[in-house]
């Protein structure tokens, strides 16, 4: 036994944010489901394989547990990255059998009508084939194809995601609202809600805002919550960047 305590801690806990997609099942007809899953996978194989997925089975209250288990296996078998079941009554009854944790996702974000239809070039189907630099290459390419401009304020309970590009918001972003972007985020009003840039790993993503009073800012999964944002860092014309593992807020 070592009498001297080791200077290195055996474990280290670090917070990171990830973007999770929810796969909601509306029907347990296995053939139809398999077909739909295959279609999704064909459309965007890399995206689907990379994206942590939470399965929502709450619409399948009348489906026997056995069938549900098969369905989940079918999803798993296609290489989707399942991380759990969305918390709910149906999920509760089958979770242990399926061997997936129940996960509560806070706040059912309102559907936002603000999302522009992605331009055809932005379809992940013609993403470059996998290579070591895949991530940065596709991110850079996407920036010019799928910027999303939002002309209205983004309000509490709303969520806007600019997939494959930058997000530009002309109005204010309320407390309780959430902005997500694969690229940069620009806010030309006051940012009071959450802003997550580079959600698929682009560490060079930045957040620009005319006035920062945010609940949370995040870049490539690194984040700072309201409590960790100093009063001096709040204010007009702010820029949020990632330096190594640190979120830096500076004046523009």
């Amino acid at each position: 036994m070592n009498a001297h305590p080791s200077p290195i801690q055996p474990i280290e806990l670090k917070g990171r944010m990830i973007l999770v997609s929810i796969l909601r099942l509306h029907d347990a007809d296995t053939d139809q489901l398999n077909e739909a899953l295959d279609a999704r996978m064909r459309e965007a194989p890399e995206l689907m394989r990379d994206m942590p997925l939470l399965v929502d089975v709450e619409h399948l209250a009348n489906t026997p547990a056995e069938t549900l288990t098969q369905v989940i296996e079918a999803i798993r078998g296609r290489g989707f990255k399942l991380i759990g079941l969305q918390q709910g009554a149906v999920a509760q009854s089958v979770a242990s059998g399926i061997g997936l944790p129940l996960i509560v996702l806070g706040g059912k974000g309102t559907e936002v009508p603000l999302r522009a239809a992605p331009s055809p070039q932005a379809e992940p189907a013609n993403e470059p084939s996998p290579s070591v630099h895949k991530e940065s290459a596709s991110a850079v390419q996407a920036l010019h194809t799928a910027s999303l401009v939002v002309n209205q304020p983004v309000r509490s309970g709303q969520q806007v995601y600019a997939r494959g590009g930058d997000l530009i918001v002309l109005g204010t972003v309320s407390a309780g609202a959430e902005l997500l972007s694969d690229g940069h985020i620009h806010v030309y009003g006051t940012l009071r809600g959450k802003a997550l840039a580079g959600v698929r790993g682009m560490t060079g993503a930045r957040i620009f805002c005319r006035r920062l009073d945010a609940e949370l800012v995040s870049i490539a999964g690194h984040y700072r919550i309201a409590e960790d944002i100093l009063d001096a860092e709040r204010g007009e014309n702010r820029l949020v960047t990632l330096a190594g593992e640190t979120i830096v807020i500076s004046e523009i």
Partner: protein, 269 residues
């Protein structure tokens, strides 16, 4: 075709029903044929504030279920010409208001009226969504406190997507703000948000600011919309709001502490 206006908020007890009664009465006083509908199934407040609770025979749900026709259920206001009230049902069944049913009633009312005012229940659930769904415009009622403003913000977000107007791709539902129960004294003491704070947070046009006023309680106890009390501050503020709603440009009043003018505040010490 009538213009359908929903009075909504998210939060309860902020003054939606008071406002619905005032706005409907104000519009009718200006000569517009106006119907005001109580969507608050199970609670029935509007008829009390309008002072017609003892004349209720049939209600909104009766009409939807076909137990009565609109002509039988609409209550003609005794004080104001051109004004009709469709009371809420006392039923406990919140699902009694179906989308088809509501649409049918609104369509029928639209033939005859210039304005239909929908007094929404609190919350952001089904009842509130139903009251807002068919609207052409919304008035969001807010009190000058953080939680009320937050709920209104949330409601504004919902109005921008979950309404017929929005679903048809005609953009978010046009909405204006009515700040009620405003107390300049408490704003000065820093206990309440100011008009500027609220406008800045919600970034939306202010239709009116209604002061906190004993006259509202007196009027509601008397079963009379406060807008009929022409002497009262709240009554006058509601008249201004109705005029602005109809396109008139009027300055906001009752925003600063009464009696104690500029000098009073300067020399307060």
């Amino acid at each position: 075709m009538a213009r359908i206006v929903v009075i909504t908020s998210g939060k309860g007890g902020v003054g939606k029903t008071t406002t619905s009664a005032a706005l409907a009465t104000g519009l009718a006083m200006e000569g517009h044929r106006t119907a005001v509908i109580d969507f608050d199934v199970g609670l029935r407040n509007l008829d009390l504030i309008m002072g017609c609770e003892r004349r209720v025979v049939y209600d909104f749900v009766n009409v939807i279920n076909g137990d009565a026709n609109l002509r039988q259920a609409l209550i003609k206001d005794k004080r104001t010409e051109n004004l009709f009230i469709l009371p809420a049902s006392q039923t406990r069944d919140k699902d009694a208001l179906t989308e088809e049913g509501v649409e049918k009633v609104l369509d029928e009312l639209s033939q005859e009226f210039d304005y239909i005012i929908c007094d929404s229940p609190a919350g952001i659930e089904r009842g509130a969504l139903m009251a807002a769904y068919f609207a052409d415009a919304a008035i969001v009622v807010t009190n000058p406190e953080v939680s009320s403003v937050r709920d209104s913000d949330r409601m504004l977000g919902i109005l921008s997507s979950k309404t017929r107007v929005a679903e048809r791709g005609e953009g978010p539902l046009p909405a204006k703000l009515l700040l009620t129960r405003y107390s300049p004294e408490r704003v000065e003491k820093g206990e309440m948000l100011s008009v500027d704070d609220v406008t800045e947070i919600l970034s939306i046009e202010m239709l009116g600011v209604i002061p906190e006023s004993q006259s509202v309680l007196n009027a509601s106890n008397a079963g009379m919309p406060v807008i009929l009390d022409a002497e009262s501050d709240a009554g006058q503020a509601y008249r201004d709001a109705v005029a602005r709603f109809l396109g008139e440009d009027r300055p906001h009043r009752f925003l600063t502490t009464q009696k104690k003018g500029l000098f009073g505040r300067l020399f307060k010490g």
